[in-house]
C-alpha cells in the first residue's frame, strides 16, 4: 500500500462525514479535518474508529489527538502499515 492509496482511502472515509461536498474539491495533505472540512469533533472520533477498521490498526488516544489534518492521518497510517512514498 502506498501513500497515495492511503490518501485516497482516508479521503473516502472522511467524505461520508462532510456535509458540504464542495469542501472536498481541493482537499490536500494540509486540509484540516475539523476547520476546513467542518467535521465536528464527535464525528472525528468515528473517523478514527473507521481508520482502525480499514487499516487494521489500533490508534491510541495520544496519537488520535494529534490527527488534525488529512496529512496527519495519512502519515500516521503510512508509518503504521509501512507504506511506500507518494502523496507528498
Amino acid at each position: 500500500m502506498d501513500k497515495q492509496q492511503i490518501f485516497n482511502d482516508v479521503v473516502g472515509i472522511i467524505k461520508d462525514y462532510v456535509k458540504d461536498e464542495s469542501k472536498l474539491a481541493n482537499v490536500s495533505m494540509e486540509t484540516s479535518i475539523l476547520d476546513d472540512l467542518k467535521v465536528n469533533s464527535a464525528r472525528l472520533v468515528d473517523i478514527i474508529i473507521q481508520f482502525e477498521d480499514t487499516f487494521d490498526i489500533e490508534i491510541d488516544d495520544d496519537d488520535a489527538d494529534n490527527i488534525r489534518s488529512i496529512g496527519d492521518a495519512v502519515n500516521y497510517i503510512a508509518g503504521r502499515v509501512g507504506a511506500d512514498q507518494g502523496a507528498e
Binding site: 484540516s32 468515528d46 488516544d61
Partner: protein, 224 residues
C-alpha cells in the same frame, strides 16, 4: 484569569440519536466511571451528550490558557453534582490542566453546557443563550452549518453590544487560525481586540454562545 467555554448538542441530529449504544465510541470518549454512569442512566443519549458537552465546554475554556492542551475527550473526566440527570445541574470537569466548573441544562431536543474558569462569582457575569436560527429568533439566517455558525457569532456580538451599550455593528467576533487549529474567538469593539471571554457553538439545529461581561475599565474605555 477568566475563561469560558460552551457546547451545544442537538440530540435529534444525525449521529447523535442512539449514539449511546455505540460501544466503541463510548469507550473512546468516556472514562470507566463515566461509562458506569451511562450504563445506569435512564436517558442514555442525554447522559452521553451531557458528558460530551461538558468535556467540550471545559476544553474550550481551558485551551484559552493552555492552547496546546489535549483535546481528546477521554483525557477529561466529568464529575456531576447529581447522580441522576435532572434538567439542570452543575459539576466539574477534570482536565489535564486542572478543573473547570460547568453548568448544564437539557431537554428532549438538546444539551447545553457552559464551563467557567475563575472565581465562582463569575457566574453572575455570564450571559449565555441557545437558539434555533430557523425558529424566528434569527429569521434572515438559513440553516446550513456555516450560517448557523454565523448566527451564533452574530447573536453573541449583538448580546455583547447590548451589554456594553454599544450600537449594533461596533462589536465583532473574529476567529484566527494557528497551526491547523481554529484559535478561540476574540471580541473586537470598534476594531480593538478586547479580553472579553466568549465561546461559540453550533450543532444540528442549534446555535449557542456564552460570554463574560467585559471588564468595567475596558468597557468604559471602549465606550468613551
Amino acid at each position: 484569569m477568566r475563561a469560558v467555554g460552551n457546547d451545544v448538542v442537538d440530540l435529534r441530529a444525525d449521529g447523535a440519536w442512539g449514539k449511546s449504544r455505540d460501544k466503541r465510541f463510548v469507550c473512546r470518549v468516556l472514562t470507566a466511571s463515566e461509562q458506569n454512569r451511562l450504563a445506569k442512566s435512564q436517558n442514555p443519549d442525554a447522559c452521553l451528550w451531557a458528558m460530551w458537552a461538558a468535556k467540550e465546554a471545559a476544553y474550550k475554556a481551558v485551551s484559552r490558557i493552555f492552547p496546546d492542551i489535549s483535546a481528546w475527550p477521554g483525557r477529561y473526566e466529568t464529575v456531576f453534582d447529581h447522580p441522576g440527570l435532572p434538567r439542570q445541574f452543575a459539576g466539574t470537569v477534570n482536565t489535564p490542566e486542572g478543573s473547570v466548573c460547568v453548568r448544564l441544562h437539557w431537554d428532549e431536543n438538546r444539551v447545553h453546557c457552559v464551563g467557567l474558569i475563575g472565581s465562582s462569582e463569575l457566574w453572575q457575569d455570564l450571559t449565555a443563550d441557545v437558539f434555533e436560527p430557523e425558529d424566528g429568533a434569527h429569521p434572515a439566517i438559513e440553516s446550513s452549518a456555516k450560517k448557523i455558525s454565523a448566527a451564533a457569532r452574530t447573536a453573541a456580538a449583538a448580546a455583547i453590544g447590548l451589554h456594553t451599550g454599544l450600537p449594533h455593528g461596533l462589536v465583532k467576533i473574529e476567529r484566527t487560525r494557528v497551526s491547523q487549529r481554529s484559535a478561540p474567538p476574540v471580541v473586537k469593539i470598534q476594531g480593538i481586540h478586547t479580553e472579553t471571554p466568549v465561546s461559540l457553538s453550533h450543532h444540528g439545529r442549534f446555535a449557542a454562545f456564552a460570554f463574560l461581561a467585559p471588564l468595567q475599565a475596558q468597557s468604559a474605555a471602549m465606550c468613551s
